[in-house]
């Protein structure tokens, strides 16, 4: 049986070698009335060179373009491959339609949740091989639309393949876990940058574990929290989409016990986040900053010879809206804080700081007392706690 369909399909494929978007099957990915426009390539020229061959439009330089040679027969093979992929996608879209109709008639919430999970998977499967989606994901970051399940899947895979591993390595090796919280099951990607910086080495996203000078962290950071799981889809009434962000320094010297205490440096709560609106940036702080902040930002300003200190940023998912009036900064117990407010840690980030020449000026700006100075040789006095 399959042979019949295969031969029929191959005949059609031969007739449509160079012309695309003509046959019925190809409509799956060229039809844009029910699909988001972010699933197709925006630049018409690049789209044409992808489907009809010729010199690549992504090479702008005219000489390099002329000197470029595509692999032999790639266009013809691509057309046949596209037919094959579109056919598979067509089956998946049929499944999507079926699941959607089932969803509208279903009333049981549990079955509905299962159906939604299936629907999401079908939507991913229907687009995951779309060459236009792959192109946009690789080369056109503007078109990555996190409201589409397929882009979320691609983003998640990319995160897991590198950034997540780097983060977990740094969290463990720098003992952020278990010094602040026991452990972390990462569910969201947390990216941090300090956008007030005008030096290129400090203005981009921070790699976990980097040592930063005080002037580079003197104003509140932009925090990007990318949500991957489908349950976190937000609408305003749904309280599970509210997040709490806490920045702590577990290395604040405590001379009375000859040990360390944890200090709270920044606290945000009730921050609504969704797949598309996922940044806590200056714009948001400018308009709603007062509402979110329960503990305003004070940079970590290590004292001379107090060694390197860790800035641990934790992102929690809230189970209900919180009313945190204010919080004691000194001797902050983050475990207790999470337990009291019923918070689930979903993401974390860490950078490090040490004393540098910009510390004193920033202390003055923030009206903080001058920092203590410690002897540079470590003594053998025992622990007093």
């Amino acid at each position: 049986m399959w042979r019949k369909t295969a031969s029929k399909y191959s005949l059609r494929a031969i007739h449509s070698t160079s012309k695309c978007l003509t046959t019925g099957e190809k409509k799956v990915w060229s039809e844009l009335s029910s699909r988001s426009s972010s699933l197709s390539i925006k630049n018409a020229k690049i789209k044409k060179s992808l489907f009809e061959g010729g010199k690549p439009e992504t090479i702008v330089n005219i000489e390099r373009k002329a000197a470029y040679y595509s692999p032999v027969d790639i266009d013809k093979t691509f057309q046949l491959a596209y037919d094959e992929l579109a056919r598979v996608s067509g089956d998946k879209y049929a499944l999507v339609d079926e699941l959607k109709s089932q969803l509208t008639s279903e009333t049981d919430t549990e079955i509905k949740a299962q159906l939604e999970k299936k629907l999401n998977k079908a939507l991913v499967d229907a687009e995951i091989y779309n060459p236009e989606v792959l192109y946009n994901f690789e080369y056109d970051s503007e078109l990555i639309d996190a409201s589409q399940p397929v882009y979320r899947k691609l983003l998640h895979d990319k995160w897991k393949s590198h950034d997540l591993m780097v983060l977990m390595q740094r969290l463990e090796q720098l003992h952020v876990i278990p010094d602040t919280l026991p452990t972390l099951e990462p569910k969201v990607e947390v990216k941090v940058k300090f956008p007030h910086n005008t030096k290129s080495e400090f203005s981009s996203w921070i790699v976990p574990g980097t040592v930063l000078p005080a002037f580079a962290v003197c104003k509140p950071p932009t925090i990007e929290i990318t949500l991957f799981d489908e349950t976190a889809v937000t609408d305003d009434s749904n309280s599970s989409s509210l997040y709490t962000v806490v920045l702590v320094n577990p290395d604040e010297p405590d001379l009375s016990t000859n040990s360390f205490t944890t200090k709270l440096h920044y606290g945000l709560s009730n921050v609504p986040l969704s797949h598309t609106d996922n940044q806590i940036d200056s714009g948001k702080l400018l308009t709603d900053g007062e509402e979110f902040t329960f503990s305003s930002y004070i940079p970590i300003l290590p004292e001379k010879n107090a060694q390197i200190q860790r800035a641990c940023l934790w992102v929690f998912r809230q189970n209900e809206p919180l009313t945190i009036k204010s919080c004691e900064r000194e001797s902050f117990n983050i475990r207790e804080f999470a337990a009291i407010h019923n918070l689930t840690p979903v993401g974390a980030h860490v950078w490090r700081q040490t004393f540098d020449r910009s510390v004193n000026a920033i202390r003055e700006q923030y009206h903080l007392p001058r920092g203590r100075v410690f002897h540079r040789v470590r003594r053998t006095d025992p622990y007093m706690g």
Binding site: S49, L50, P56, T77, E84, L85, Y129, L134, Y139
Partner: protein
Amino acid sequence: MLSSSIKSAVLPVLRTFVRFKSKADVSPSTQRVIGQMSALSASKKQPKVIRLSNEDLIKHKSIVNAWNLYRRRKVSRQRDQLNKQYQSIVDAMEDLKQSEPELYVWANTKQTNKKFPLQLRVPTDYPPSQPWVYNVKK
């Protein structure tokens, strides 16, 4: 032995024929070893690395994706058919066991002196000059 046609092909070449002296000051045996080694080594013989443009990378990825899907579909179809065939053997034997125990015993007896036929051939890309053997000697 050179055929006459080859000789005719060689003749125009002979006019440019020059016998060279050995270029290097090495013995012929050493030269031969050098030739053999260099034929095996990669130096200067490697092609340029293929650097694909963005479009071509996506095209290549899509081709590979499509191929993997295609193969997966084909293999799973074959596996399904084999499963069905096995199931129908089981069904037939179960039925035989119930209705015709005697035939079941015969059908289940191992054929010990049976040999795989040498005449069964692996398919080739092009057929032999006589595709089928008609005269059977018993």
